[in-house]
């Protein structure tokens, strides 16, 4: 069953442009120039129930704007959006009770009160029955290990603690659809891992449909089978993560361990040297030239060990975003 369907979605913003400085400010009182920014231009995709999809793209690509359209915050300028059979921008309560949007850089917790108060308010807002509330809260609190901070003022919590509580607040009504906008931003590696595990478990346990955006490829790599890559408001890739590597990973990495120290010039005589720190050296070579290069390296250098690997996914994505060579 298709839970989310987006077809030819468009969203523009008109942004007021101010020239820098005081004079610019003064001018802007009488005369304002607006620039049309096409945040999302013609995006189409659909997502089935229970899918966990990674949504990636460089800064300003239109990820968050798309999520905002899906959650009904923004009114689309063109195309159509349907989530759970609803048009999000109508913001019907029946729809709102079935989804949640978590933004890593925004908080919904009440700043001056303990998180528990926000949870209790959300219970009423979403009409969660008392026993279900108790059960869900207990489960979430245990999973995320936050028993001892529920009654501490939100503003006194650390970022990680707050993020966990944000997740709880967003999940108390057991949403069927979940949009996570950088849920691990600013968290340390241990906490990132915990939140990831939690998202995975939540997805499997409740068969909920999740879209995740993140700048940490680790999140996406670990959680999502399917990724959508967006840039300049357009969808440039939609498919399995493994296929990204096949499609865009034109290179292979050859890493070698040298038997004895040699000068850098010697290494540089072979094309594609990327890094050299004795005794380690790595080369980046075209996929189809791998065997030829390997032979050349073995012949020219004193090698103790040699490995041919796929480059890490982070690197492929970085390459992709840098050169924007989408095919």
């Amino acid at each position: 069953m298709e839970v989310i369907e987006v077809s030819h979605l468009r969203k523009n913003f008109s942004v007021f442009q101010k020239e820098p400085g005081l004079v610019g400010s003064f001018k802007s009182i009488f005369f304002r120039r607006y620039k049309q920014v096409k945040a999302v231009r013609d995006i189409s995709f659909s997502i089935k129930e229970g899918e966990l999809v990674g949504f990636i793209g460089p800064n300003g690509a239109g990820k968050t704007t798309t999520l905002k359209c899906l959650s009904g915050l923004l009114y689309p300028d063109g195309g159509s959006v349907s989530v759970l059979g609803f048009q999000p921008w109508q913001r019907q309560p029946e729809f709102q009770k079935q989804f949640s949007l978590v933004m890593g850089q925004k908080n919904q917790l009440w700043w001056d009160l303990p998180p528990l108060e926000t949870f209790l308010l959300n219970k009423e807002i979403y009409d969660v029955p008392q026993d279900q509330f108790n059960k869900t809260l207990n489960e979430l609190v245990k999973l995320l290990e936050v028993e001892d901070i529920l009654k501490v003022q939100t503003r006194k919590l650390s970022l990680g603690q707050r993020m966990k509580c944000e997740l709880i607040a967003a999940l108390l009504h057991s949403p069927k659809v979940l949009f996570l906008d950088e849920p691990t931003i600013g968290l340390d590696v241990v906490m990132q891992k915990k939140i990831r595990d939690f998202i995975k478990e939540y997805n499997q346990k409740f068969k909920s449909t999740i879209i995740l955006t993140s700048h940490y490829m680790g999140d996406v790599k670990e959680l999502c089978k399917r990724v959508m890559i967006i840039d300049k408001g357009q969808l440039v890739f939609d498919g399995e993560l493994a296929k990204v590597v096949k499609r865009y990973g034109q290179n292979k990495v050859i890493s070698v361990v040298l038997a004895k120290e040699i000068g850098k010039e010697k290494l540089e005589s072979i094309d594609g040297l990327r890094e050299y720190l004795y005794p380690q050296a790595t080369f980046l070579v075209k996929r189809e030239k791998t065997s030829q290069k390997t032979a050349e390296i073995l012949e020219k250098l004193p090698i103790a060990d040699l490995n041919v690997e796929e480059p890490p996914i982070e690197e492929i994505i970085r390459e992709l975003f840098t050169h924007k060579n989408y095919r």
């Binding site: 959650s71 850089q105 919904q108 959300n122 807002i125």
Partner: protein, 265 residues
């Protein structure tokens, strides 16, 4: 309904967090109140009658200002404009909650807490300065005072909501709120002095605006200085403005939300 009750509880709790802030606010109101009292006491001096007000009536009017300021003009919904500006509004647009009811709930809590304190303050001052209030003779007066004050509460709420909603377009709110809120609104509401001390051609114009129905007319009712005809007219004009701002704030809200860009994140 229960969600708004829970929200009210939460709002109460917030006031306990910001105790100092609240005390300072009350202190400011008290100073304002005392200033007005001493001002009028000085003007009256030994006279018993001035501008058509007996001394007791004028002092009652000033006490009435303190009271109505609290329950009518007291408001939290100005914060909505800040939420629009900062993008904080986002979280409420995602939830099955009506933003206008959200702010009305918070306003009511604000009014209740302040009401408790202002009644204490008024009692204290009456006892300290030892003067008596003008109390209406007829029961109908009490009744119509309550009804007009309730209408004033709603009227002010919708005006305030409207001023906040403007932030969807201006992205800047303090100028409008300050100009309207402090200068026009409070002055024209009669929250400094009874409006009929002004020249009559001016008062005629002012009476057509929504503002005098917030403080001035409820107090005129209390002081029983309105004829039946004037009373009916006051109710009618207040009602028309009430409907107008109710419609306008709702209409602009719907338009504004479409315009909202959910900044941040």
């Amino acid at each position: 309904m229960r969600k708004y009750l829970q929200l009210a509880k939460l709002t109460f709790q917030e006031y306990f967090v910001y105790r100092l802030n609240f005390y300072l606010w009350r202190f400011r109101s008290l100073v304002f109140f005392l200033t007005l009292i001493f001002f009028w006491l000085a003007i009256y001096g030994d006279r018993l009658d001035l501008f058509g007000y007996q001394k007791a009536q004028m002092l009652t009017y000033v006490v009435g200002i303190a009271f109505l300021r609290t329950i009518v003009l007291g408001s939290r919904s100005a914060d909505l404009a800040m939420q629009v500006r900062s993008g904080q509004l986002t979280k409420f647009l995602l939830q099955p909650i009506r933003v206008i009811k959200f702010w009305f709930t918070r306003d009511v809590v604000d009014k209740l807490i302040n009401l408790f304190f202002v009644v204490l303050e008024i009692a204290l001052i009456l006892w300290l300065l030892n003067f008596s209030l003008y109390l209406p003779q007829s029961l109908t007066t009490y009744f119509s005072f309550v009804v007009l004050s309730l209408m004033a509460i709603f009227l002010y709420f919708f005006i305030s909501f409207f001023l906040s909603v403007v932030a969807f377009w201006t992205e800047e709110i303090w100028a409008t709120r300050w100009l309207f809120g402090i200068i026009f609104l409070e002055f024209l509401a009669g929250a400094y002095f009874p409006l009929d001390v002004l020249p009559s051609w001016l008062t005629k114009i002012i009476y057509l605006t929504p503002f005098p129905y917030l403080v001035f007319f409820p107090m005129k009712l209390w002081l029983e200085q309105l004829t039946t005809h004037q009373t009916a007219q006051a109710f009618l004009i207040c009602f028309i403005w009430l409907i107008f701002f109710w419609w306008l704030s709702g209409f602009l809200w719907k338009k504004g939300v479409r315009n909202y860009q959910a900044y941040g994140g």
